[in-house]
């Protein structure tokens, strides 16, 4: 067999393998939906597509699919930015100074295993229902991956990089801005990517809590109360898609800006 033909075959084989399971699930779903004939348990694919294809249409007075998705996205970004603004400087401080590290380490180790959603009742008690509570819970989810990766990245900056800068006359602040930050940036970025993923999971769950009245998580929960399983499934698909898109954007920046990490030695 000639080489290019072999390549074409292998590309098709790969594509076939990738799509095999989703296609099987869709076919199985449709068959099952027809057999069950109960849209309150498993709606037909058509009715889910109906919702997905009209993303701007208001759903039972709760706002549209896209509108709610953007509300959720806004909350995640707010919580994520707050978490990053705290975690990155703290991680750099802990990575550079043993004193700061020892001071914060035990406290943070204690907080780390607590699932972000365990903070929900406390957040409600402290901040009432609203954006601040959301930001708090989301921030809790995003904080630790960003902190731990920043710490890792700062510790991973090669000693000779720092010494070379010292020889060339760098002061501590310049070492931070010219060596530590760019050297640790790829790892910090990885932390932000993981942190955003967790924040996205948190927002959806947090929006399902009582008292919320907007966001994609709320829309799903409310659709359950109205027995609209097709909206639930459409909402879940939108959550997944947004997660994939954001993660992809993070990956694109990573590949463009931090190419040197893969290629260095």
């Amino acid at each position: 067999m000639n080489r290019s033909l072999f390549k074409v075959v292998s590309v098709w084989r790969k594509a076939f393998l990738k799509f095999l399971l989703p296609v099987a699930i869709i076919i199985g779903w449709e068959i099952l939906a027809i057999v069950l004939n109960n849209p309150f348990i498993l709606p037909r694919i058509g009715s889910v597509l109906e919702v997905l294809l009209h993303p701007f249409v208001d759903i039972l007075g709760n706002g549209s699919l896209i509108g709610n998705a953007f509300i959720s996205l806004g909350r995640v970004i707010a919580g994520f930015v707050v978490a990053a603004a705290l975690a990155i400087p703290l991680g750099i401080g802990m990575g550079r100074s043993n004193t700061i590290y020892e001071f914060f380490d035990s406290f943070l180790q204690l907080l780390r295993p607590i699932p972000p959603l365990a903070w929900v009742p406390l957040a409600l008690a402290w901040f009432k229902i609203g954006l601040v509570s959301m930001v708090f819970i989301i921030g809790m989810g995003a904080f630790f991956p960003i902190l731990l990766n920043t710490l890792d990245g700062v510790k991973g900056v090669k000693k000779t990089w720092i010494e070379a800068a010292e020889i060339l006359g760098a002061r501590e602040r310049q070492i931070l801005s010219h060596v530590i930050l760019p050297g640790a940036a790829p790892t910090i970025w990885t932390g932000m990517r993981v942190g955003f993923g967790i924040a996205w999971m948190c927002v959806v769950a947090a929006e399902m809590m009582p008292g919320t009245n907007s966001g994609i998580g709320y829309l799903i929960m409310s659709s359950y109360n109205w027995g609209q399983v097709n909206v639930i499934i459409a909402g879940i698909i939108v959550i997944g898609l947004i997660g994939i898109i954001v993660d992809y954007l993070f990956k694109v920046v990573d590949r463009r800006s931090f190419k040197w990490r893969e290629l260095e030695r």
Partner: protein
């Protein structure tokens, strides 16, 4: 410029309580414009010696003086080239060369001029916008050398800079280094474990003993440059150094 290493010694504490003598009583006076090679076996403390001269480590006793100033921290008169991980991989070649100038707040146009000049000196015109990972090992070393030169130090400290390169590239870079040395009139303190390299490069070779390293002998190399590695005279000096490092006074302390 005069660089004086005076009664320098260094001890390390190992595993908390074992004291290891790394360097014992080093005395060397280096004149302006000299090319000095420090030759010694692995683990004799020659890298430590260079790091102390650079101001990256403090001696246990004794001192290093440059023009009567005691060195206890990095000094703008001293530039250093490391054996490994020399360049910042996220910076282009130009940005690497300009790094020291940037730290000093030199205006952009001036930096670009200096960078251009040193890029030519390194024989790398046209590679200014390349990244380190796009260059060969030898090219990276050239960039590292001119990055150190760009801030115009009086002394260049080099820690086995060509150790990781293949023989051909290594010879080529030694040759180019001498050319740069000749053009810039810098003083060079060059650490190596290769007798051949020391004889090819140095005005004087400082031979260190194994740990704790101290000066066994300082050998002036009076061969004219460019030196021919295959010549009889070269072989004679080489033979002398090789014999010396096998003698008890240089191999045991």
């Amino acid at each position: 410029m005069t660089l004086i290493i005076e009664h320098l010694s260094k001890q390390f504490t190992k595993n908390g309580n074992d004291i290891v003598d790394s360097l014992g009583d080093i005395n060397v006076t280096i004149q302006d414009g000299e090319f000095i090679c420090i030759l010694g076996p692995s683990g004799c403390g020659k890298t430590t010696l260079l790091r102390i001269v650079a101001g990256l480590e403090n001696p246990t006793s004794g001192k290093v003086l440059i023009d009567e100033t005691v060195i206890d921290r990095p000094n703008p008169k001293l530039g250093m080239i490391f054996q490994d991980y020399l360049l910042y991989p996220w910076r282009t070649v130009n940005e690497n060369i300009m790094f020291g100038l940037e730290l000093r707040g030199i205006p952009k146009e001036e930096m670009v001029d200096v960078s251009q000049k040193y890029l030519e000196l390194a024989g790398l015109s046209g590679f200014g916008t390349s990244y380190p990972y796009e260059l060969s090992g030898g090219m990276r070393q050239r960039v590292a050398v001119v990055r150190a030169l760009a801030v115009d130090p009086s002394v260049l400290l080099m820690d086995e800079p060509f150790g990781a390169l293949d023989a051909q590239t290594r010879n080529r870079l030694q040759h180019d280094l001498l050319e740069i040395w000749d053009k810039t009139k810098k003083t060079i303190l060059f650490v190596t474990h290769s007798v051949d390299e020391a004889v090819f490069l140095a005005d004087r070779i400082v031979v260190l003993t194994p740990r704790p390293g101290h000066v066994c002998e300082i050998i002036p190399v009076v061969l004219t440059r460019p030196r021919d590695r295959t010549s009889v005279e070269f072989a004679k000096v080489r033979r002398y150094v090789l014999d010396l490092i096998n003698q008890p006074k240089c191999s045991f302390s």
